[in-house]
């Protein structure tokens, strides 16, 4: 025997509110959508018809009632009878909100179903544009309904009345409803107003919809437009943007703006505010812009993108992918056009979003060129762009960490050598990418280069301090540090610690080889790094009075202490911390130096 399924309304509504929609608040959107669809359907037949939606909370014996009145196409008795069967088959709700009557009826039902998230009784009173007597449909959360004719002279259109569920009465507050209606419907192309109590003035209608989106309105001039968009962004998105970028893709019926965030955020996929046919789809819709666009928040209205079943996100279909690419191209175009000029927005943008720009430069050659031309880098010759340095010096010499830069900056500056600090995130990738571009020569600074640029010491010719130098080399050999003497500016830097990346790799290799000599049949022995120098070099500055004092010290214990103190201060100058052993050494050195000073004092 064939039977019919029984649909449990309460259960179905629960599934909707918990699993389909982000929350019960969407009932306001669904009611608004029904009203504007009905108005669109009527205007297709009668372009001069009134287009208003009025929402208010009225008191009744059973508590507050939410009333939504529209001047739409209205329902005949047959349409209303279809409402229930519609609930069963309304999944075919078309994303393209057609203006035909059939689509309107098909969509009406699901809107009512969403309303049951907050209501336990819904009354619909309606009169159709096509004539016939007014009808009344009363549906209840238990799944029963009554359909009756309605006496009296009702205007064409529909009035929906919601009686709250016991646990949902907080949705029936006029301020709450006005806030939600404004959030969802502020860009709707019809006159939507909500009645709100105003202190000392009773209840007033507040119009919540604008004639056109703020980016599509006509303004006296560009600065008025800029100001209007900025203030709209502040009110709607909660921040004052640095500026905006117009987005316009007629092919997919999309328009809107991307607001530039006033502050940098960690890289990540951003979410954006999306309207479909001027109704808010969601304030946090994913996938509209490429992941690298984390420096803007976009607000767009579209007619061609497909919402998901909840109508709160977009389907990740091919149209969305193509849209995302096209919008990405638009943003890159803006960056290249705007940032090349001395525009106030360009300066603010570079200051705030250089991280985003660097990220982009690692993926796109046009933006790579842009970054090399406009982004100031820290160099030993002040803040300069990469292109500036390459044009002047013919090549780009850089350090790949900020620590390495700090180590050499003062000396390189004194030697007139321009070194770029490429220690910030993405910088090494940018320099690597530049190296592969025609016309660019980039080179990481090696420690060799620094001390070859330093002037040979007087003592080297005279051989004066040869013995002292030999002693110093022996003392620091166990730390894999070589010692050299050079003359360089500034004389306030007594010693400089240079690192040799190759030497450091060799040290790692030696350590591994010593720890596991038989691993892989001695495979590690086959990797022989060049072993020309130690991994670090301490370059003593012959110009420094401290160094000259040290080199003249005869007392071996004091010499050792002085050398260690210079070595450890060079370590700290290089930005490295001291380990436990270093601190012990430093303490010991200081006590030797102090004891020696005390002994030298006249008794």
């Amino acid at each position: 025997m064939t039977e019919r399924f029984q649909v449990d309304m309460a259960g179905l509504v629960d599934v909707l509110s918990r699993h389909l929609y982000s929350g019960p608040q969407v009932f306001v959107r669904e009611l608004l959508q029904n009203a504007v669809d009905a108005i669109a359907a009527r205007r297709a037949l009668d372009p001069a018809a009134e287009a208003t939606v009025r929402i208010r909370i009225v008191a009744s014996d059973e508590g507050p009632v939410l009333e939504v009145v529209d001047t739409g196409i209205g329902l005949t008795a047959d349409d209303a009878a279809e409402l229930l069967s519609t609930i069963g088959r309304s999944s075919k709700r078309e994303p393209q909100l057609g203006t035909g009557r059939e689509q309107f009826i098909g969509q009406f039902g699901i809107g009512m179903l969403a309303a049951f998230m907050v209501a336990d009784r819904i009354e619909v009173a309606s009169r159709s544009h096509h004539g016939g007597e007014p009808v009344q449909w009363i549906g209840r959360a238990d799944g029963t309904f009554d359909l009756t004719g309605l006496a009296g002279d009702l205007p064409v259109g529909t009035k929906v009345r919601l009686h709250p569920r016991a646990d949902a009465d907080h949705w029936f507050d006029p301020h709450t409803v006005a806030g939600l209606a404004a959030d969802y419907g502020s860009l709707l192309p019809v006159d939507v107003a909500v009645a709100v109590p105003v202190a000392g003035a009773g209840t007033l209608w507040r119009r919540i919809s604008a004639a056109a989106p703020p980016w599509a309105l006509a303004y006296a001039n560009e600065s008025d437009r800029e100001a209007a968009l900025s203030s709209w962004c502040r009110e709607t998105l909660g921040f004052t943007p640095i500026g905006h970028i117009d987005l316009d893709l007629p092919l997919v019926g999309l328009d809107g703006v991307a607001f530039i965030l006033p502050q940098a955020l960690p890289p990540g996929s951003g979410s954006h505010r999306v309207y479909v046919k001027r109704m808010l789809l969601g304030a946090r819709v994913d996938g509209v812009l490429p992941d690298w666009a984390f420096f803007v928040r976009a607000v767009v209205d579209t007619t061609a993108l497909t919402p998901t079943a909840s109508r709160e996100q977009l389907h990740a279909d091919e149209i969305l992918l193509a849209t995302r690419d096209a919008l990405g191209t638009r943003l890159k175009r803006w960056a290249i056009d705007t940032l090349s000029e001395q525009h106030p927005i360009a300066r603010a943008f570079l200051r705030t979003h250089h991280l985003a720009l660097r990220a982009l430069a690692t993926t796109d050659d046009d933006l790579l060129d842009l970054v090399s031309r406009v982004l100031p880098y820290e160099t030993t010759d002040g803040h300069r762009t990469l292109a500036e340095i390459a044009a002047r010096d013919g090549e780009l010499v850089y350090t790949s960490t900020t620590e390495a830069y700090q180590r050499v900056a003062s000396v390189a500056r004194a030697q007139g050598l321009t070194v770029v600090n490429a220690g910030y995130v993405y910088d090494t990738a940018i320099v690597d990418r530049l190296r592969r571009r025609a016309g660019w020569i980039t080179r990481e600074l090696t420690s060799n280069e620094i001390y070859h640029s330093l002037e040979a010491a007087e003592s080297e010719r005279t051989g004066e301090h040869l013995a002292a130098l030999g002693r110093a080399q022996d003392l620091l050999a166990e730390r894999d540090v070589d010692v050299l003497i050079r003359r360089y500016e500034p004389e306030t830097v007594p010693a400089l610690l240079l690192r040799d990346p190759e030497g450091e790799r060799r040290r790692d290799l030696d350590a591994e080889r010593a720890a596991t000599p038989h691993l892989w049949a001695g495979l590690l022995d086959a990797i022989d790094e060049p072993r020309t120098a130690r991994s670090r070099s301490l370059v003593l500055n012959e110009r420094s009075p401290v160094v000259r004092l040290l080199l003249q010290t005869a007392e071996p214990e004091v010499f050792t202490a002085g050398l260690h103190a210079l070595y450890l201060s060079a370590v700290m100058l290089a930005g490295d911390g001291l380990g436990t052993r270093d601190i012990t050494t430093l303490n010991h050195s200081l006590s030797v130096l102090l004891a020696s000073a005390a002994a030298a004092e006249p008794a």
């Binding site: 907080h170 507050d173 709450t176 806030g179 909660g238 921040f239 502050q263 955020l265 990540g268 954006h272």
Partner: protein, 223 residues
């Protein structure tokens, strides 16, 4: 020598295994200071976030304000040092710190409001849902005894749900607590009977509040 990133991760995980209390707080403080001084910088956000947690759950919320302020400054100056997980955790812990606003009498109304305004600004800037913000604003208004607590409750409940708010069971529990503590047992009952969820606090908090509510003469069942 400075910690390697792996060492730092390991040390943080060790501390997370400790029970909340002075020992965990002391360990978290020491490790955070070391990471702050010698790196690795990439682990600093995580260390600071863990320190906020240690303070918050051992009744040292006032100290958490200092650490959280440091975190926000770090986030503004070096957003690139925050991983996706750090960022999520930052916005997750925000409501914990906000919950301590009414606990300390040395925090003025104006200061608390400035904190909540800044919280709202940051959530909006990051494009996140603001339900945890409106919940925090309500809890502050209620526990500080401010006249707009009822309006703040409406605003909280009207804000769309998101991933940074407390669970559904706690949402009911807070309201029941609010109505009970402000002498409105009928409203407490009305909300509390809708409590169907469970978590590490619920339904105990709701049942406790309901027991209080129903023991007042006005609502005691007449039989």
């Amino acid at each position: 020598m400075p910690l390697t990133p792996a060492d730092a991760e390991h040390a943080l995980a060790e501390i997370r295994r400790m029970p909340y209390g002075t020992a965990r707080t002391a360990a978290a403080e020491t490790l955070t200071r070391e990471i702050e001084a010698t790196g690795p910088a990439s682990t600093l956000p995580e260390a600071l976030l863990d320190l906020v947690e240690a303070y918050t759950f051992s009744s040292e919320g006032l100290r958490a304000f200092v650490t959280f302020a440091r975190l926000l400054r770090l986030h503004d100056e070096h957003p690139e040092s925050f991983t996706e997980g750090d960022t999520r955790n930052l916005y997750w812990e925000y409501k914990w710190v906000a919950a301590d606003l009414p606990v300390f009498p040395e925090i003025t109304v104006a200061q608390a409001q400035a904190f909540l305004d800044d919280m709202h600004r940051r959530f909006a800037l990051a494009g996140l849902g603001t339900r945890s913000v409106s919940m925090s604003a309500f809890r502050w208004a209620w526990q500080a005894g401010l006249p707009h607590a009822d309006r703040a409750l409406e605003e909280w409940l009207a804000t769309p749900r998101d991933e940074y708010e407390d669970c559904a069971a706690c949402t009911v529990g807070h309201q029941v607590d609010f109505f009970t503590s402000t002498g409105r047992p009928e409203e407490a009952l009305h909300r509390g009977l809708g409590q169907h969820g469970t978590c590490n606090l619920e339904p105990t908090r709701t049942l406790h509040a309901l027991a209080l509510a129903t023991s007042t003469p006005a609502t005691r069942p007449a039989h």
